[in-house]
Amino acid sequence: MSLRTDLGKIRGLGSAKEGVAHWWAQRLTAIALVPLMLWLVINIAHLAGADVKAVQAWIANPVTSVLLILMIVAVFHHMQLGLQVVIEDYVHTEWLKLASIIAVKFAAIALAATSLFAILKIAFAG
């Protein structure tokens, strides 16, 4: 006999009250990042030693711009999910843990926004 309530079963969020959302997002971004990072490294290796004009021309290419945007979103989402788990595992002072997680999440969004702005600026303003 299960002691779980019918509502608890239907919600399926378990004792942590968050279900598998964090775990699932970590895996989804991981799968997306496999081809995106391979693509990025191959292209950056080809750009080794290139001047700024060549780098800007590469970023301004529509296919590159879109893939870079997807890569940045996936990277920073994956990063903050991962760092959150690391902080939760090692930081045991409650206020410091909370402050660190907030700082990581804010930093991830700020860095992603900065990167996206740089990509779009090159794509639209040259």
């Binding site: 991981a30 496999v34 490294v41 800007q56 970023i59 600026k121 090159i122």
Partner: protein, 131 residues
Amino acid sequence: MDTRERPLSPHLQVYKPQLTSTLSIMHRMTGVALAVGTLLLVWWLVAASLGGEAFTTIQTIIGSWFGRLILFGWTFALFYHLCNGIRHLFWDMGKGLDLPSAYRSGWIVIAAAIVLTVSGWVCGYHSMGAL
């Protein structure tokens, strides 16, 4: 009841380091290192959008021996985390969880990370005309 002085498990210092545990902590360490490494990526993108002196500065820094060392470490961390991440995805599907498979996939991950890192750098030096 006082719970402060109770022994905690696992006690890392009494375990012999094994391939599985070493690769596990390496996954975490490379993940944190890559998080720091994203700063370099953001800087590079911003410098490319600014052009001129900003881009020359980052290119000089990355082109120096120290910059190349950091970038080499970043490349290995990336490929290690990527390959071991794929290993984790197989585990998530319930595949390869037995001990012989975990060791075999562990060695494959190390080999793949090294091969991919070296290939990436050969490709980079090739496009610079150094090879």
